[in-house]
Symmetry: C2
Subunit: 230 residues, 2 copies
C-alpha cells in the first residue's frame, strides 16, 4: 500500500534574535526558478539518513553559519497541499533563539543573502513562511511567561534593564521595574556577578547571569517558573 507515496519532507527554522531593543527574525534570500527571488526561512529538505533535528542544525550551519542557544520543534505544516507549488512538501518547523549581540552573519554557500528583520517588518515570504513566523511568535510570547527562555536571547551576562526591556518589547506590555525584579530574583535562578557594565551615562549596573543548572535542579523538585503581568 502507498508505495507510491510522493511527498517530500523539509525542515525550516524561525530564528529569533534581540538587537537594539527589537525582536528580530533571521531570513535568507533565495533564488526561485532562477528569475524571481524571495525572502524565506532558513531550511531545506531532510536527508535520508539524518534526524530532523540534525537537518535543521545542518541547514542553519550551511545557510547562516551560526549556532543557536535554544531549539525546539514548533509545528508540522502539511495541511495545505499546495503550499509549495512545485511539489508536495511537508515541512517541520523549528523554533530557535540566539544571542545575536556581537554576531556577524556570514552569507554562506547555500543562500545568497542573510539578514535580520524586525518582527514587524517582515516582507511577504515564500510559501507559507509568514504563517510559520506568526505561530513561532505566538509560541515565544507564551513561553516567555512560563519558561525561562528569555535569557537565550541575551548575552551570558546581562543587565536587569535588558531583561526587563526584552519582556516589555516581546510581550508588548508595560512592566513595573520593581515588581519584575523582585519576582525574577525570588526564583533563585539568576545570579549576581561582581561585574558592572560600562554605560554611556547613569549609574553603572550590575551584571547578572542565568544559572541553568540551578533551574534544572529546581524543576526536578517541582518548581514551576511563571511570570505574569498586570
Amino acid at each position: 500500500m502507498a508505495l507510491d507515496q510522493n511527498i517530500r519532507i523539509a525542515v525550516d527554522a524561525v530564528v529569533f534574535g534581540y538587537q537594539n531593543n527589537q525582536l528580530k527574525v533571521l531570513l535568507i534570500e533565495q533564488k526561485f526558478n532562477s528569475d524571481k527571488t524571495y525572502w524565506a526561512l532558513p531550511g531545506g529538505l531532510v536527508m535520508n539518513d539524518e534526524s530532523l533535528i540534525n537537518a535543521v542544525k545542518r541547514e542553519l550551519k550551511e545557510e547562516t553559519n551560526l549556532q543557536v542557544n535554544y531549539l525546539e520543534q514548533l509545528y508540522t505544516f502539511g495541511d495545505d497541499i499546495n503550499r509549495d507549488s512545485r511539489n508536495r512538501v511537508i515541512t517541520v518547523a523549528y523554533f530557535a533563539l540566539i544571542d545575536s549581540t556581537n554576531l556577524e552573519i556570514k552569507a554562506d554557500t547555500d543562500a545568497d543573502n542573510v539578514q535580520w528583520f524586525g518582527i514587524n517588518e517582515i516582507p511577504k515570504l515564500a510559501f507559507d513562511h509568514n504563517a510559520i513566523i506568526e505561530m513561532a511568535f505566538h509560541r515565544l510570547k507564551a513561553k516567555l511567561s512560563y519558561q525561562p527562555i528569555g535569557f537565550e536571547l541575551l548575552p551570558k551576562e546581562f543587565l536587569f534593564s535588558e531583561l526587563e526591556n526584552l519582556y516589555c518589547t516581546i510581550l508588548e506590555k508595560e512592566i513595573d521595574r520593581r515588581n519584575f525584579r523582585k519576582k525574577m530574583l525570588s526564583f533563585g535562578i539568576i545570579e549576581e556577578t561582581n561585574r558592572f557594565s560600562t554605560q554611556k551615562s547613569g549609574r553603572p549596573a550590575k551584571l547578572f547571569l542565568f544559572n541553568q543548572e540551578k533551574y534544572n535542579q529546581l524543576s526536578r523538585e517541582g518548581f514551576h517558573f511563571e511570570i505574569k503581568f498586570a
Copy 2:
C-alpha cells in the same frame, strides 16, 4: 538536489477516552510481517493529495469508525532514523479526545482488533508508540489546567462529580470539591440544566453542560481559563 529523498510520512493518533473513572487509550492490533502481532496506535501513511489532518481522520474512520471531539497536532517523530525497521518513516502524531460513554467500537476493515487500554496498562507497543503516548499524556495533563478540554472526554451533559473525578484521576491529585466547583462555575462557561441524573443512591445531582460559544467569546475578550490545585 535531494530528488532521491526516500522517506515516508505517516500520521498516528493518541485517542483518549474516559470510562469507569479511568483514562483510556485506544489501540489497534496489527499484523506485522504476517507472523507477529503488535498493539499500536491507529494511523498510517499519508496519501499524496491528502492533508495531514484528513489523513488522521481517515485512518481513525477506517480503523475504528469513531469520530473525535477534539483533535490537535502533538509532535512529529523523526529523530530516530530506525524507528520503523523496514523503511525510514516520519510520523506526525496527533492528540485526540473522545466521549467514550455509550460508544461501541467496531473493528473495521484495516485493523484486526480495536481495544481501550487503561493509561497504566499499556503493553509494549510497535515502533516508538509508547513514547508517543507518554508525550500525549503529558500534554493532556498540562492542557487540562489551562484549557477547557476535560469536557471533551465527558458526555454533553455531565455531573460535577464526574468532572471533578476526571480532574482528580488524570492529574493524580486530590481536589477540594468546594473550591473546584466555585472556581469552575466562576468562569461562566458551564451551564446548569433543569435535568437531574438518576443515581443508584444518594441525592440526585444536577446535570451541567459546557458552553463552547460562551468560552470562545470570552477568549476573544482576553479571558484565560486556568484551574490550579493545592
